[in-house]
């Protein structure tokens, strides 16, 4: 059974236009509640009742989302939306910005070895200009937006896919060369 507090939080989730934060909920309820527990209860309730929605922790807040299995119908409702995917170069560029932010375009270009166009990502609101770097030319600095987190379903920047440490890649390569050597000796 849901308590009144549970129902209020659910109502707030229905009404919020952006991921709902704990501080927002506290202000609305005028008390300090254990939101993590309430969200867990609500998610369990939504699951057991077989409802087509669930609550996701994304971009530092909670958001009511439809479940993946209803995607075919919703994508028809929204037409083309959701089918547009970012290109590989866009994803690479985002990866660099996400890890190295704040970062300049020339730093991004140096890693990718090509001239990178950042405007489309700014227009998609996935990255933003965060300032200027001190130094010659005072180049613009770029960082990821909140929408970036929402787009990839990340709770925070700490949830980014782990960077394989250089040593690890080196270790793998050694392993590979060991195998090659073994093959050669056989």
């Amino acid at each position: 059974m849901l308590s009144q507090t549970h129902r209020i939080v659910l109502a707030l989730l229905f009404g919020a236009t952006e991921p709902l934060t704990k501080s927002q909920v506290d202000i609305c309820l005028e008390e300090d509640i254990d939101l993590t527990q309430i969200i867990a209860d609500l998610n369990q309730y939504l699951e057991t009742e077989g409802l087509p929605v669930w609550i996701q922790l994304v971009a530092g807040g909670y958001r009511l989302m439809t479940r993946a299995e209803y995607e075919p119908w919703l994508s028809r409702l929204f037409q083309n939306k959701g089918k547009l995917r970012l290109s590989r170069s866009a994803l690479e560029t985002l990866a660099i910005i996400a890890y190295k932010q704040p970062v300049t375009k020339s730093e991004i270009d140096a890693i990718r070895g090509v001239d990178t166009s950042l405007r489309p990502l700014v227009e998609k609101n996935l990255i933003k200009i965060t300032g200027r770097q001190e130094g010659p030319g005072r180049p613009l600095l770029y960082g990821t937006t909140n929408h970036f987190l929402e787009y990839f379903g990340l709770a925070s920047l700490q949830d980014l896919p782990q960077v394989k440490e250089l040593a690890e890649i080196a270790g793998e390569d050694n392993l590979q060369s060991d195998i090659v050597e073994q093959d050669a000796t056989e």
């Binding site: 989730l13 236009t17 958001r63 009511l64 993946a68 995607e71 590989r88 070895g113 929408h147 590979q176």
Partner: protein, 245 residues
């Protein structure tokens, strides 16, 4: 008419090199540079034979590869061998760094695919794009007219601009300054300005002074910044000032 053809996979020269490294199971830390340079140049040739314009970065990388190859071929004295840096080091670092972000990019792609299957229950602005054909059914011409009316009302109002006829001109003010300088050979700018009634007149008078300095009719001095400006008559008055002004 130009066609923009992108060969399926390679985002740039680093990507292409990584492809060779993966395909041939090469140890990234011990790249057979002669072999990889040949592969790379063959690919560039293929692209050229297909009449594809090569991006400058691809050609730059070709020159880097050839330079490394040459450096590797140069014989080195036995004693120096340990001290000299492997000419491949910089390239390897670039490849490793790029590969790292390429992998993260691939992981982001999976996250994107995952997240795109969920829709926020409360619509965000990027989800409000309904299919127009599905939802425009109830819109009438009147609705359009009203919407247009609202836009017109929101537009900034055009305020009438009053244009005033200039009461003063530079020529007139030159005569005025000359008049002032008839009685005394040295006068303060503030004295002249005191006789003027509005800002525009002061500006025009100042321009007249500049004009008179140019024609060397007067000289001007000022002791400190924002200090008093003294206007002094020069001895030879050039009468062509007015016609120049």
């Amino acid at each position: 008419m130009s066609y923009n053809v992108k060969l399926n996979v390679y985002e740039g020269p680093l990507d292409l090199l990584l492809f060779f490294i993966k395909r041939d199971e090469i140890n990234i830390y011990d790249i057979p540079i002669a072999y990889i340079t040949d592969e790379y140049l063959n690919y560039l040739q293929l692209m050229q034979s297909l009449n594809l314009q090569l991006a400058g970065e691809f050609i730059l990388m070709a020159s880097i590869l050839i330079r490394i190859k040459v450096q590797m071929l140069l014989p080195r004295p036995e004693t120096e061998k340990l001290d000299i840096e492997d000419p491949r080091t910089e390239l390897v670092q670039m490849l490793v760094e790029y590969q790292k972000y390429k992998e993260i990019g691939e992981q982001l792609k999976r996250l994107e695919a995952n997240q795109s299957r969920h829709f926020p229950v409360t619509l965000t602005s990027d989800q409000r794009n309904y299919d127009p054909e599905l939802f425009l059914g109830d819109i009438t011409l009147i609705d359009l007219g009203l919407a247009f009316q609202q836009i017109l009302e929101k537009l900034p109002k055009v305020e009438p601009v009053n244009l005033e006829i200039m009461k003063v001109n530079i020529r007139q003010q030159i005569l005025f300054i000359r008049e002032c300088l008839k009685k005394r050979s040295r006068i303060r700018f503030s004295e002249i300005a005191a006789k003027l009634t509005d800002r525009l007149e002061v500006v025009v008078t100042f321009l007249a002074i500049l004009e008179m300095i140019k024609s060397m009719e007067i000289s001007v001095s000022q002791k400190d910044i924002f200090g008093e400006i003294w206007i002094t008559k020069k001895k030879t008055i050039q009468d062509n000032v007015i016609s120049n002004a």
